[in-house]
Amino acid sequence: MTAQVGAVRAELGRHRPRFGEPAFRGLVVLASLTVLAIIAGLVVVIATTSMAGIAHNGIGFLWGTTWDPVHSVFGALPFIYGTLLTSITALILSMLIGVGVALFLVELAPSWLAGPLGFMIEMLAAIPSVVYGLWGIFVLAPWLRDYVEVPLHDTLGWLPFFSGYPIGIGNLAAVVVLTIMVLPTVAAVSRDVVSAVPGSQREAALALGATRWETIRMGVLPYARSGILGAGILGLARGVGETMAVTMVIGNSPTISLSFLAQGYTMASVIANEFTEATTNLYRSSLIEIGLLLLVVTLVINAAARLLVWRVAYTASSRSLAA
């Protein structure tokens, strides 16, 4: 008996993890640290490669309005302005549509419609940016020029927002393309958040005799508010970082104009467009400095949005568990 126990012990001992467990554990920890290192590396590498630009341009880089590489004058404000103008306008439009879609999918649509429709909107995110750009140049911009910009210019041209020449390529085209590209992000996250609202919220409103819309307005939306805000911030990060499609339709002109008919430039598109033409080291590192600015802004926006969405999803799930 004791001999058998001893044999079993010996057998177990032989198979006791000596090397495998710590090695595998080390491997997965290393991989996770790599993710951390990449994020840190992004900031460090981009900061060091833009050092020459940072030293030359100083803090005035942020509000300088002149971008003249030939005379080594680099001001980033036209790009910051263009990025803000296009991505915030696009965000407002895609929030209106995206939250509407999310509410329609979760609250109203029958399942035979909700499935395929949700799928189509997910597919919208799968189409490569450059294809949107191609479509933007040859289909969207001419259409906008003929059917939107010309009427706008003829009727409301006295407003600063619609002054200038309607040529299709410009801020308006960039806003429309961006709206399409931000929409899947906003719609998908909003749908998750709205789905996370406990059914008891709706039942309570319906039991009080509320209509479907009143249920949504009083039972669902207040509960989902901060999550939808998170969806918006995530959409903003997506819009701010979007490069190719915007580069192809915005007209690439470093001017600050209120007009949606004017040509503009964004932070991402100036990097994409001028990097390979940048002949001097200073020019190149000034472009990378814009990239550094873009990176820091999107990191902050993203972190804030994730925290917001997480908190909502977490509290919603724990509440429904408690209920």
Partner: protein, 305 residues
Amino acid sequence: MSGADGTLAGAARLPGAGIPPRVPGRNMARRRTTDRVMRALLGIAAVIAAVPLVLVLLYVLVQGLPALNLALLTQAPVPAGFPGGGVAPAVVGTLIMVGLGTLIGTPIAVLAGIYVREYAGGRGATLIRFLVDVLAGVPTIAIGLFAYGLVVVPMGSFSALAGAVALAVIIIPIVARITDEMLGLVPGSVREAAYALGIPPWKTIVRVVLPAASGGIVTGILLGVARIAGETAPLIFTALGNDRVSTALGEPMDALPLRIWVYASGPYDSWHAQAWAASLVLVFLVLAFSLLTRLALRRRGAART
């Protein structure tokens, strides 16, 4: 409780008690109208959201199909403005860089996913998940600049390797998140059964849990491949582009999205036609991958990616 008199006295003190009650029918009609209008607006939002997808796909198909032929995929570009030629360097380059990027990024992503789901405690898992989500949100053009500083500057030349590194960084958060989710779908009883047989945790993961989740992880990798195959911005200052078919990792290489960008921005009709045709190829690949993987994932019980 205090009887009819008490209730009435209480009601009289309430604000608005003196106002004559609204006609219930008219109020209800107003609410019904609002309800109908808002429901219609939500429906319209859904239609507006679906329209661009249909339009883009339609145009890519209609404009791309006439220029799509075998020469497009097998021949190198001819000098600008001349008819004929193809985008073979871009096809080869996309295959090589996407393949290499996937090879570099996937192991890191899967291992990080395993750490998050199987090893990390609550706080560690939350931290890494958060970092993965943040990395997923970094603009791809910034990732391109990162690869430029990391690979192109030290090597002294634009290269396919730098492009592959950029694509690897982009695929990591996609695959890590899916691995994490797929491992979460493997029931705990499977792990317990393995532990009961005296199998150490790491072997349980490698031999039991991973195989159980492998289908979902593979579809996740394909989803990531579809995503990086369409990336342009990170390749501009890493792979740069190339007019000739190149397989050298240390030299500039072409890619389909890069070629579409160059041709779309150029002045020649033959370029535009080829840009549409190349887009058709790219969109078909990307959509087919996404469609298949999403359907497979849905069957697997994961609602979303």
